[in-house]
Symmetry: C2
């Protein structure tokens, strides 16, 4: 298979733009020759960064965009007004077919809204969910939805479950992914109104391997491969994962610095600890795909460094090569009828 | 102040009953002579455990209860049918004024339902929230509500915010506790329907020190003292705290065992690490009070060991001595009119 995956990258999005974004793009093309990156943003600034690196010039193109959408701007308004922004221009590259995918560390709201308004949903998909991979004891799980659609309905959650299954099966190679719905108890009768209504629908879905409820406590153990929830809950899960992890690691480090004895011990455990904890880092898994669009939109963390940008770009290759959208059309939409 | 706090304890509740429950009760009375504990449960089993310890016999009384409510039983039905259960009998001790408080590691559902049905709400309180203390980088925060009322309304959340403020101020000694609402972004216009409706109500509450939204990422930092949310979200937060913590500590331990070098280091850091991580343990803070009832009901974790039972019993003393319910009546109810 020697087809090229063409990825539009928001060179101006995120806390570390354009430096880390450009660096990540260079790292991606240097790792995989079947990628072409379109860096969209302020031409002069992007070129200045690019000049620092060695790479195949045919693999990176710069497209000038005069405006930047800031994180604080109301997303819908920003997408409508700022036609010359990096996000809007890059999304149009996907819409018109010049690019297969778009990667941004910029305003989540603008990326989510823009993805839906400009790239558009696959016909039959009610709402496109944002679905990051989160680390677990045994590998990783897909958390779907984690930010795109607050106040979702049961039918949305059923589509999330199906799309998540397709993704975990095709992109991550998990056979018959175990699907669970986030709940506040393991029993079927537990939950809020949304979960109680959704549970029997999932139970009667022959296309997925539904294993019932999952309590938040069990998410990090890897009990389920696809973790279904509405966006408000999903956002809490994703961000608390980050927050508790950061605080605990800070505590562990501080604990090791409390005595001479522990300081010496810290020097000895450091390398081993570093490699173990790396496997439990959100950064390892690149960005979160917004599933169900006519093209791929990947949102990475606002504080993304080059490694996350690189991983997000590489993720687009797998997504294209595995024909995820074709599978979503076949397995999610048709079966809905 | 030499008044006695009388605490009914569910001797049969939780995974480690009656052993750890009885042990915790003994530890509590041995630590504080102004407590009287009523151990409610199977008399023979409880007496057998009690016989292992030395304590002031006047401080512990055993009340026989023939039935046990299991975790899997539907709570409302169980409370209505099992009149002879330890939970129902103990709750009646609170209702009739024999006891000031009730502590249980048993079925959460039965404790929450029973608290409301038997002990009853303070007049004017719409829903009693379950409010555990969770560890943070700087100390601890009150998470309110974390399990009692799914699908809550904005007016409930406003009462939670006020009750939480009273608790943190009087029990934990925090001056003007900072109150925040759990949200998926820092901006006022973000959130689901419930949060959007509640936000302006909290903003216009002169009785509390409302500081706006809190993202889940910032909860472990101690950014707010009182963290307001509806029960489904709160339950996710509480349980994920536990889950991520457990998994990370497992990872850290495994990481330290990967090489001879790191094993030696582990021996050196172990004591320091243990004491640091202890401060970040949910167990340190005893149980979660169910606020707004005519008496105090404290639910501790199903896997509670004696330390949690002891801390939960001691917590009842502070609750009584600080006249929390009087303050709730004055500050939450009257101000609502």
């Amino acid at each position: 298979m020697d087809e090229i995956t063409r990825v539009a990258v928001d060179a101006m999005g995120g806390d570390n733009a354009p430096e880390e974004i450009v660096k990540g793009a260079v790292e991606a093309v240097n790792e995989n020759h079947k990628i072409k990156v379109y860096l969209v943003g302020k031409q002069a600034a992007v070129q200045e960064e690019l000049a620092k690196y060695t790479y195949d010039k045919g693999q990176i193109e710069v497209l000038h965009a005069d405006e930047i959408i800031e994180t604080a701007e109301p997303p819908v308004l920003a997408i409508r007004k700022k036609k010359e922004s990096s996000i809007v221009k890059a999304l149009h590259l996907v819409k018109e077919g010049t690019c297969d995918a778009f990667v941004s560390a910029g305003s989540s709201g603008a990326v989510l809204v823009g993805g839906q308004l400009i790239v558009g949903r696959i016909k039959g998909i009610e709402r496109p969910p944002l679905a990051p991979l989160i680390p677990t004891e045994t590998g990783c799980s897909l958390l779907i939805d984690c930010g795109a659609n607050v106040d979702a309905r049961p039918s949305h959650l059923v589509q999330f479950a199906k799309m998540g299954s397709v993704y975990m099966e095709s992109v991550m190679g998990v056979d018959k992914p175990k699907v669970a719905i986030v709940n506040i108890g393991a029993e079927e009768e537990k939950g809020n109104a949304l979960v109680k209504e959704t549970f029997p629908l999932l139970k009667n879905c022959p296309e997925i391997n539904f294993i019932g409820s999952i309590e938040a406590r069990d998410i990090p153990t890897g009990y389920a491969d696809v973790i279904v929830c509405e966006a408000f809950a999903g956002n809490i899960i994703l961000k608390l994962y980050e927050g508790v992890g950061a605080t605990l690691i800070k505590k562990v480090k501080a604990g090791m610095m409390t005595s001479l004895r522990s300081k010496i011990g810290a020097l000895l455990v450091k390398p081993a600890l570093k490699s173990t904890l790396k496997g439990f880092s959100l950064e390892e898994y690149g960005g979160a795909p917004l599933l169900g669009l006519n093209g791929l939109v990947v949102k990475t963390h606002g504080s993304s460094k080059s490694i996350e940008i690189k991983n997000s770009i590489l993720q687009c290759v797998t997504f294209k090569e595995q024909r995820i959208n074709k599978k979503i059309k076949e397995k999610v939409i048709l079966k809905d009828k």
